[in-house]
Amino acid sequence: MEKLLSTPAPAQAAKLPLHPFWVIVSKEMSDHVRSWRFIILLSLILLTCAGSLYTALNNIGTPSKTGSPVNGTFFFLQLFTATDGSLPSFIVFINFLGPLLGIAMGFDAVNSEFNRGTLSRIMAQPVHRDYLLNGKFVASLLVVGILFFSLTLLVTGLGLVFIGIPPTASEFLRILSFSLLSILYVAFWLNLSILFSIRFRQPATSALTSIAAWLFLTIFYPILIRLVAKLLAPDAGSFPGPGDEPYSYQHTLLKLLRFAPSQLFSDATTTLLMPSIRSLGPLTMEQVAGAIPNPLPLGESVLIVWPQLTGLVAATVLCFALSYVSFMRKEIRSR
């Protein structure tokens, strides 16, 4: 009995035992938080955030650089987007490091359990098979969620201290929806890497495959599209000419680019954080003519990025569904 008291364990003894699903979630969360790779990525993200915040704060005082006076009304949001070119802005960093975080948390989700021989042991416990997969997903998502919310709130808070101007309600909502979007974006990469962790037996294989997919989609895919674009480009001579050829050409190009989740994410974030953006596609002169350069309300901005949001959600759900099916069909044997 003395031993029992000396342990840190039972704090709320009288409570009902936790549902097995939440037992899995809490264990996975503590695994993540304790793991070296998470700590390393976390410090990397914190460092880059500090860097981008610093450049943003340096440039935020000079609104002339960003050009349009419109941005002045959404002064606070510039914290996330402003840059002088020496360091990328906060959103670019998130676009870059978010996938890495998702991959790092998911690439060995299932195969490491398998290789350690713990999978068959857990599966012999009275839990549904999908608890494990869902638990892992939910745990990683919770960790990412907490991380991103605290990160954006931290940046907001620091900005508040340094600039001294509080964000307006709509600015704050935009910042929150930006966090949600980032979490969604990481969730996509998380699910993709979980899928690979089910498909491939070696964690190294699934990690490399995930990273390869990430590199391809963020770096090589746009390059590829630009190459194709050059071939398809309408004749320069006819450019001011009649018809909507250049217009539809731009449209096709953007459509192709938007197969990459990173493009979707950056489209969506820039629209959310720069209220002056009123369209993500090319606009004809007729459309722009007479438009008052006013910032859009949040609802309108969200409306613009709705397709991007749906696309990201769809990609995430697709990856999850694929992993779910292949995990449920997988025969669990000992290693």
């Binding site: 936790l18 549902h19 097995p20 899995i24 042991r121 416990q125 009275p126 839990v127 000992s334």
Partner: protein, 330 residues
């Protein structure tokens, strides 16, 4: 004691066209220690997975504690503890934490989980190692932690897949004694699979012999050998030398054909075979004197004569390694 707790009928599992388990019928009684014996790849593990509902059978029925594991795996897993053949733990966590995790997956309240985990660690002899990381545990310790892990849910049945693999002989002995002790004390039914006969022989009440997906025989070891070697419970091995040349052992069957004929005439002798320079004689009583006399009378030199009784080893060899021909002579 004779109340069946696991009943399997017509159980079949096919991978493509290959039937790994083929029409298995078996019933295991409450409170007994049952050994599932067979060479690697005989379908033991697959059968176990089907008992737990981890794999769906292609045909046939399984009932564990009166529940169908294919339809209600969760209910079965509440009552059955399973130790996989190469059990793994979360290396970064201590043995105690690993146990607590399992306990909480089984919905044990925290306090009770802690109490049981400590108690079980003491029982399996890891009382002082519970707070060490599972990553530094030796193979034997991991296996014992595995046993504690299986017992923490207070199961009615425990299923151990090759529990003695990779443990040293003393460790095996202790481990098996522990299992039997627990089984007797708490009335737990134990099903263990193995290809180590001697170990199984020591602890099992009954065994089932499993070859290429089929159960060849089941029963306790005495009845098993009596049934399998009906009429010939005794095996005598004889080596002879060529007539007149004691230093020349007989190596070819044609040299002793006459002797084999003569031996077949001896009363009490069933089968006579010649393999690898040795004559194997199955008989229903001790005919060694008559055999020696026959050998000498035929002019051969008797160099070696050994009486053997059938244990699991012979049963095993007869089925698994001796091939069909040996089985047919019985």
């Amino acid at each position: 004691m004779n109340e069946p707790i696991i009943t399997i009928s017509g159980l079949t599992k096919r991978y493509g066209t290959l039937a790994v388990v083929n029409g298995l019928d078996l019933s295991i009684h409450k409170g007994e220690v049952f050994g599932l014996l067979g060479p690697n790849g005989a379908g033991k593990s697959t059968t176990i997975l089907m008992l737990l509902g981890l794999t769906e059978p292609s045909a046939g029925k399984v009932s564990v504690c009166g529940i169908d594991p294919t339809l209600h795996p969760i209910e079965v897993k509440k009552k059955v503890g399973y130790l996989p053949d190469d059990v793994g733990f979360y290396d970064g966590r201590s043995g105690l934490e690993n146990l607590l995790y399992t306990a909480r997956l089984n919905r044990l309240p925290k306090e009770e989980a802690y109490r049981r985990a400590r108690q079980l660690l003491d029982q399996v002899g890891l009382g002082n190692d519970g707070d060490k990381k599972a990553g530094i545990y030796s193979r034997g310790m991991r296996q014992r932690l595995g046993l504690a892990d299986v017992l923490i849910k207070d199961p009615e049945i425990i299923i151990l897949d090759e529990p003695t693999l990779g443990i040293d002989p003393r460790g095996v002995r202790e481990f098996l004694d522990l299992i039997v002790h627990l089984s007797r004390k708490q009335g737990i039914t134990v099903l263990l699979s193995s290809h180590h006969l001697h170990q199984v022989q020591q602890v099992c009440d009954r065994v089932g012999l499993f070859v290429s997906g089929k159960l060849i025989a089941e029963g306790d070891i005495a009845t098993l050998s009596a049934r399998l070697f009906a009429g010939e419970p005794l095996l005598i091995e004889v080596n002879v030398a060529c007539p007149g040349r004691d230093e020349m052992p007989v190596t070819h069957e044609k040299e002793v054909l006459s002797l084999l004929e003569a031996l077949r005439e001896v009363e009490g002798i069933g089968s006579v075979r010649f393999t690898g320079g040795t004559i194997h004689i199955g008989c229903n009583r001790d005919a060694s004197a008559a055999i020696a006399r026959t050998v000498t009378r035929s002019g051969f030199g008797l160099t070696h004569l050994q009486k053997k009784t059938y244990g699991l080893d012979e049963i095993y060899h007869r089925y698994f390694e001796g091939g069909e021909s040996y089985g047919k002579t019985a």
